[in-house]
């Protein structure tokens, strides 16, 4: 049995109603790859576990043939996770090294992530992992148009699984869907679901390594400048969600950046669906990657090397109704302000203003 990690990653599987979450999960549960995993689902009934079932641990928990622990959430998610953690510690369930949560189709996935961060017990044992969002190739475009939940689910995803592509006869519609997804989540990995793909490791594999490497692509950076939307076909609802890149070619002051980003997230966290980037920091040789979803920012990670040896900071924002130009100006004014070491400048102004 796998050793228990200090922080168990909690992955989130989300997607709009009928987008194929449960189908995907059903297939994954049968596979041996989920052996060291605990899965939190909404209903046992939906998944049809009977023929995989080995042992019923209690009302809400069962053990599957693959060694996977499967439980339903009754009431609070935090309670279910705490229960799992305590059972694992007492040896009542096999040790697991990751948790997958299936969220309901209409839910805004963010509160799940913030529970992990704010709960006094959970935050010492669990950490947020990957967000996987399923998008229906047939109805996805219409759902994105109509339901803001659907857009948010797609915007915060680390990996997007396009389901039912084989049922989709309208190839132009499919490519429109893909370009729409590129628009508001340019750097999520896109995976086409087939009868055997994606496997569990592709979806819930080592996410820290992924998160770090994901920021880099052969072209240098995964977060390429997003394609711009054609104005003619826009509906007000999601023309509001946009993404843009801030590029800075001189070192950034980490402290000033921290002050600015916390200030921004405090006021506009709900509207900053995602911020991720690679930073060239004053006093650091290696690049540092930051990654945040709404109010929650993951601990920054060190990357091994600069993509293509080019030392440039790049920050990608996916925002809901914030003015990109204002945000860029704000970044320049605040985050670069503490940069006096790197770029000597008169400091008298602050005192003059105070006088």
């Amino acid at each position: 049995m796998a050793e228990m990690p200090a922080f168990t990653p909690v992955h989130l599987l989300t997607g709009f109603l009928g987008s194929g979450k449960t189908t995907l999960l059903k297939r994954l549960l049968a596979a041996p790859a989920l052996a060291d995993t605990a899965v939190l689902i909404n209903e046992f009934g939906e998944i049809g576990l009977d023929h995989h079932l080995v042992e019923r641990i209690d009302d809400t928990m069962v053990l599957l043939q693959s060694g996977c622990v499967c439980c339903t959430v009754r009431g609070e998610l935090a309670d279910a996770l705490r229960e799992l953690h305590s059972k694992r510690d007492r040896g009542l369930v096999p040790s697991f090294t990751r948790v997958i949560i299936e969220s309901t189709g209409l839910a805004d996935p963010f509160p799940v992530l913030s529970t992990l961060k704010s709960d006094p017990v959970l935050r010492h044992h669990f950490r947020a992992g990957t967000v996987v969002t399923t998008v229906d190739a047939v109805n996805g475009l219409a759902q994105l148009d109509t339901y803001v939940e659907s857009t948010r689910q797609a915007a915060i995803a680390d990996r997007l699984v396009i389901t039912k592509a084989d049922l989709c006869e309208d190839k132009a519609g499919l490519s429109r869907l893909l370009s729409r997804l590129t628009e508001f989540n340019p750097d999520a990995q896109r995976i086409m679901a087939g009868s055997d793909d994606p496997d569990a490791d592709a979806l819930f594999g080592d996410d820290v390594a992924q998160r770090a490497t994901k920021l880099q692509s052969p072209s240098g950076f995964y977060c390429d400048t997003p394609t711009l939307r054609v104005t003619a076909e826009g509906v007000a609802l999601h023309t509001a969600i946009s993404s843009f890149v801030i590029t800075v070619d001189r070192p950034i002051d980490w402290t000033g950046f921290g002050i600015w980003l916390t200030m921004l997230l405090n006021r506009h966290g709900e509207r900053v669906l995602r911020v991720k980037g690679i930073l060239d920091l004053v006093g650091e040789d290696r690049p540092v990657a930051v990654h945040g979803v709404q109010h929650l920012v993951h601990p920054p990670v060190h990357l091994d090397a600069w993509p293509l040896g080019e030392r440039v900071s790049r920050l990608v924002f996916i925002v809901d109704g914030l003015d990109a130009n204002l945000l860029k100006r704000s970044f320049n004014a605040f985050a670069l302000a503490g940069n006096s070491d790197a770029r000597p400048q008169p400091e008298a102004a602050a005192q003059i203003r105070n006088a």
Binding site: G258, I259, M263, V301, N332, A333, P346, A348
Partner: protein, 110 residues
């Protein structure tokens, strides 16, 4: 829990991440940690001055945020700074406020 102030064990903020393999943080060596705190105070003050507030280090474990009239509040980390600042000043601390941005730009370019 700190027996002096009764603050229950801190929430780890991303700017103070606990050192783990791969994680970037300045929360490792004692001196680095103190230096980073000092820089943080000065960087925060350059923004807070626009709201008539200031922040100072408290025993290397917390910060004290104060207004010019002396209203003050203890905060644990940067995550608590801005909600507290808004509460104390009764103003919205919005980094996207064009007036505040011009104020900062002026300060930078002097």
């Amino acid at each position: 829990m700190c027996s002096l102030c009764g603050v229950i064990g801190g929430n780890e903020h991303w700017t103070d991440a606990v050192a783990r393999p791969g994680v970037f943080t300045r929360n490792v060596e004692r001196l680095d940690r103190r230096r980073e705190r000092a820089r943080r105070v000065s960087a925060a003050n350059s923004v807070l001055s626009a709201f008539g507030m200031s922040v100072s280090d408290w025993q290397g474990s917390a910060f004290v945020l104060a207004t010019r009239t002396g209203k003050s509040e203890m905060i644990e980390d940067l995550g608590h700074l801005w909600p507290a600042a808004e509460r104390l000043s009764g103003r919205v601390c919005d980094p996207l406020d064009p007036q505040l941005i011009s104020c900062m730009e002026e300060a930078n370019h002097g």
